[in-house]
Amino acid sequence: MMNAPDPHVLLDEAARATPEPLARRVRGLSDRAIAWLFIAPTIVLLLAINIFPLIWTIYLSFTNYRANRPNAAVASVGIDNYISVLTDPDVWAAMQATAHFLFWTILLQTVLGFTLAYLIDRRFRGYGFWTTVILIPMMLSPAVVGNFWAFLYQPQIGLFNYVVSFFTGIPPSSFEMIGSVKLAPWAIIIVDTWMWTPYVMLICLAGLRSIPDYIYEAAEVDRASRWRQFWSITLPMALPFIMLAVLFRGIENFKMFDMVNLLTSGGPGSTTEVASITLKREAFEKWRTGYSSAFAIILFVTVFGLANIYVKALNRVKNR
């Protein structure tokens, strides 16, 4: 009574019964395999060159290891390194120098950058070309350009001193931007502001352009003054963008090394010795590897912690 099953129907049923992954494998690698194949190399590289060294740093921070004496016995010193970092007046002086540098660079760059963005957003003739010109400094090597600023800052022959004396009448040989304790912190702030104002400007510009015209049109209808429009529309709506720019500049300047190292290398004395310069001195000049590892971990935790708190605040502003 039973009909002989049609071979085609059988094949069809067999195909449908085959589990999904097998069917996929027949047509090349499964999506899951490709996902891992594509992600793994990146993760492996980061583990090898970022995470493994980080773990090693954590380990070293609990020892008295010195990199210039690789064969000396390594002893565990517990949290002594952390205690000596946190009680070291030089470290606090470096943190103070970093805070001064951070505060003024961010303030100046935000004010200048936002003002420039606001003016560029007036869309005068040729604004595209001038925007590109303004952006150039931030793309250049901070080391090479920072080094050249040392020449501009030369007391007698430097262009900077000449220009200042031209406009103010102060003799160009009477002040040293790099050599004096009072002016050196400002010398690095000026160069950093020159380099990175365009960065803040570019992000602010995106913020200003994200404000739709109809909001201003509605404000016009309500006869809000330009001044009022600026404070209750332009600034609040651009604020998340300004805050993002501040975040990126903050992280970068907390790590500042190249420009300062070449311009003042922390001097005179230690007036411009920002955290990364102190770290370099401890790690690669005094060779206190254990101590500097502890300092590095403290710096990393500080950046990471501050950035996280800041991002939470940023999200609150964005969702408002």
Partner: protein, 317 residues
């Protein structure tokens, strides 16, 4: 017609305010270019002109800076120079006017070549790793995707000096100290986070329908990736590559701590170009000019993607 344009002009800035805004921005742009113009000019000055007071804007151009950049010279007595055969080239002839003799080529060219090899090598590697990882993050369900992406980004928050300590020890143990390969791997590790984030943004913008159509047509996933996604992502890949290239080209902290000879790049080398009695500023300026010029070109090429690049893809147009 008139009514419409008037209605629109309510939010348009007035011609006067536009003019003022333009004047301020142009003034800022010009001031900001002065240091760069000064680098360019100083490269063509003679030693005395470069340190003249008041600073000279007009001067007789000299090859001295570029000659000093590429050569090493030694001071000789006039009698010794007089008995030498004729100068071998323009730079030698110029040197002899100041009682110097060119004795060889400087390290600038090898350092420049190192910069090129390391920048291009690490860029190629970062983009290959970046585009594959970005594709996987963009298209597939990856467990703990957000955590992985954040982990990739967070590797950038570490101060370079802090990373340099263990890298220095690690490279010393495995023999990667002062090698180009070591620097390529290191710069790749730094750049790959940028590459993944930027390229994920670019790939997210390519409609999935293209690949799905290809899959229906019998392509495998890999074929669809190579033949459909990659061509669509060309602009993004090029922009990302240029960003990686600029970072590796400009990098100084790792280079100065981890390389000293063999693999040293140009940024740590340019500041130590010295003449008799301190830095040879015309030569430093010449070296800086040659080093900065390619970036100037790239900036102009990249201007549409700059915003994206500097914010890790967080902001687009």
């Amino acid at each position: 017609m008139t009514a419409i344009s008037q209605a629109h002009s309510v939010v348009q800035p007035s011609p006067l305010s536009r003019w003022i805004a333009g004047a301020i921005v142009v003034a800022y742009a010009v001031i900001t270019m002065v240091p760069l113009a000064w680098i360019f000019l100083t490269g063509f000055k003679s030693g005395p002109d470069s340190i003249a007071y008041p600073p000279k804007v007009l001067f007789k151009p000299s090859e001295e800076g570029y000659c000093n950049l590429f050569t090493t010279r030694s001071r000789q007595t006039p009698e010794y120079i007089a008995q030498l055969p004729a100068a071998s080239g323009a730079c030698d002839a110029l040197a002899r006017t100041t009682n110097m003799v060119v004795v060889g080529s400087s390290n600038y060219l090898p350092r420049f070549v190192n910069s090129l090899i390391i920048a291009f090598g690490s860029t190629a590697l970062s983009v290959v790793l970046g585009v594959t990882a970005a594709y996987a993050f963009s298209r597939f369900k990856v467990p703990a995707k957000d955590d992985l992406l954040f982990f990739i980004l967070s590797t950038r928050m570490m101060p370079p000096i802090a990373v340099a300590i263990p890298i220095y020890l690690m490279y010393r143990d495995v023999g990667l100290s002062d090698t180009r390969l070591g620097m390529i791997l290191l710069y790749t590790a730094v750049n790959v986070s940028l590459a993944v984030w930027l390229l994920k943004g670019f790939i997210d913008e390519i409609p999935r329908e293209y690949e799905e159509a290809a899959l229906v047509d019998g392509y495998t996933r890999l074929q669809a990736f190579f033949k459909v996604v990659l061509p669509q992502a060309t602009t993004g890949i090029v922009a990302t590559a240029i960003f990686c290239l600029i970072f590796a080209w400009n990098e100084y902290a790792f280079a100065v701590l981890l390389t000293s000879g063999e693999a040293q790049t140009a940024p740590p080398f340019i500041p130590i170009i010295i003449g008799e009695g301190g830095q040879d500023w015309p030569a430093v300026a010449a070296g800086s000019t040659l080093f900065l010029l390619p970036i100037l070109v790239f900036t102009v090429l990249l201007r549409k993607h700059l915003l994206r690049g500097i914010t890790f893809g967080a902001l687009r147009k």
